[in-house]
Symmetry: C2
Subunit: 408 residues, 2 copies
Amino acid sequence: MSKTALAAEWEPKYAGRAERMRASEIRELLKVLDQPDVISFAGGIPDPALFPVRQAAEAYAAILGDAAAAGSGLQYSVSEGYLPLRQWIVRHMGSLGVVCDADNVVITSGSQQGLEFLGRLLLSPGDTALTMAPTYLGALQAFSAYEPRYDELRPEDGNRTPASYADAARAAGGAVKFAYVVPSFANPTGETLSRAAREHLLDLAGELDIPIIEDAAYAMLRFEGEPVLPIVALEVARRGSIEKARTIYCGTFSKVLSPGLRIGWIVAPKPLIRRLVLIKQASDLNNATLNQMAMHRMAEAAFDERVAASCAHYRRRRDAMLAALANHMPKGVSWTEPKGGLFTWLRLPEGLDGAALLTRSLAEARVAFVPGSAFFFDDRMRNTARLSYSLPSEDRIEEGIVRLARLI
Amino acid sequence: MSKTALAAEWEPKYAGRAERMRASEIRELLKVLDQPDVISFAGGIPDPALFPVRQAAEAYAAILGDAAAAGSGLQYSVSEGYLPLRQWIVRHMGSLGVVCDADNVVITSGSQQGLEFLGRLLLSPGDTALTMAPTYLGALQAFSAYEPRYDELRPEDGNRTPASYADAARAAGGAVKFAYVVPSFANPTGETLSRAAREHLLDLAGELDIPIIEDAAYAMLRFEGEPVLPIVALEVARRGSIEKARTIYCGTFSKVLSPGLRIGWIVAPKPLIRRLVLIKQASDLNNATLNQMAMHRMAEAAFDERVAASCAHYRRRRDAMLAALANHMPKGVSWTEPKGGLFTWLRLPEGLDGAALLTRSLAEARVAFVPGSAFFFDDRMRNTARLSYSLPSEDRIEEGIVRLARLI
């Protein structure tokens, strides 16, 4: 890992495409969100209309109105996280088919921090990370700091053989260190891996002797159809115990309760959690104590109800977007039909660049989205775009798609 | 950067002495803090009696009681941090002699996260970090993940020549990348660098072409004597502008208002801040939005008043500790006389190991402290201990020192 010497300008350790993308186009996108005439399908962020504001106000008032609780909430706390919150997570994981205890849980600053920690722990320069393509931009950002090579998973279509992945990694001077997937209502495609694909991934990971990092950010937002067990639950069922499993589960409260409190978690075997607690300690000592205490109260009061409300709310918006796409998009444009989550993935006619379309779209149609190229670790499929239906109302979704279709 | 392959056990990337120390002895220390018969001089944590609980309650109630503010507070936000809070920090830095603007500031999850980011940005394995010895354990933890070599600064006694530091770094296979200091009321010694020592450090850094990382965690807690300008202020005065300076200032609200909200900041030239914003984004997207909004209100309402109250409060406790040490410690024990902050540093008779003393002290005297060896990057001066006077009352301080002196 060589770094240019510090000179008059500060040299970045990493300046990969994903970072540049994020820093330029996406920051520009964030700016236009404040302009009321822009219809934004860009941000993959929850609708603030769904935030449990009353429960949050009650939680903070209760904690800060009690001298002992306030003293704890405003103080440092243990790096692994607030015990009652970890116990809530243990019960939640149990409801998903994963028996574990509080020592299998570490609290992170959103699941983003969990991904960054895992990159830091597991990747050396030249190692290989297996991901789907496209995949979550923030994961590529987090991992890329540790200078891996990426190779592509295609769990629905049949992955390559374990030997093929291992050989390619060795030829590149490293080893395969993990497989990263967003198995349910993925960012950016909205697609969900079938149970067979999940089992197939476990087979592959077993043969490669690597963990799977399961990013479950959107998993609770299922609008219809039968839930598929999390990969970690399938592995616990195979091996008999979380301690014998290798899947690392990253969860978050961001999509159901609030991203502004920055609370996610990792569930994994205890030896790994102990490592992650040390990394947490070195990184920022602990998650904000007050927020963990408040989130515990908010989760107790509102998690199930907010899951139901969010699913109903986003389902209406997905319906509006899929209907508008079907009614207005010209031939040669196709899209995914998500059964949950916040996104659909648009495939534009060959030769139409998503980034170029965005520039025109902002200027001429006042519609924002994220060009698909941001979500690839290599340069391909520039004729794609991620559309989020989480923020605009159903009317605005229809109007935005009409404008976008006219442009295409 | 080689890593052992993942096998049945999870391999740590780093398992340095500091981490093990933190994970074993210090975690044990934290546990005994809950036992009311233990007098703890261990934690370097603020006294919760000083937390601005009323102002915190008002801040959260005001934000969560306003629909628009609540919507913002519970949502994602920009990685550089909440603008009104950065503007407050700009005014605060101005009061310390540093003219800058909001684009010179990034909000971090405590100053600990700032240190970790700087290690990640600046250090490659085998590079050299210059620090004092002893120095802040958490900085060693944060930097050690990036596998540097350490070399010792002695700014009061005369550092070695720039060539000597550079040659030693080159011989070790890297380069000197930065100098890290806690110039005011240092953790763990309580000592403060004179203006001459700060200027000397700037000369050295200039000749080595490296930045100084100035950790100002305790700088506001001055009990007596004339303030010394921050190193960054001295460098801005030399060079005429923050943009021409190389010092990286790490500040925090943890010691004056609340560590439980996890809010610190870095002030530096804009090109470096832009890099750090990308690292922040890849690491955890943004600091908890709600806390930044609340901290802005708390700082506006209570910062100056809490500085004054904290100084008066900790000054009484320092006085009690220094008096008790003078009255009860046997010959052969010496200590620093801090003019601010939370710590004094004990030098025990040669051959008396601080860690061994802790074991006996917990068992026989029910007094906790941190053995000095935790604060060294190498193995020396085990006959030392850090005593914090921040938490016990004056009576308990006297009683604890009596018990400890009897043991020694």
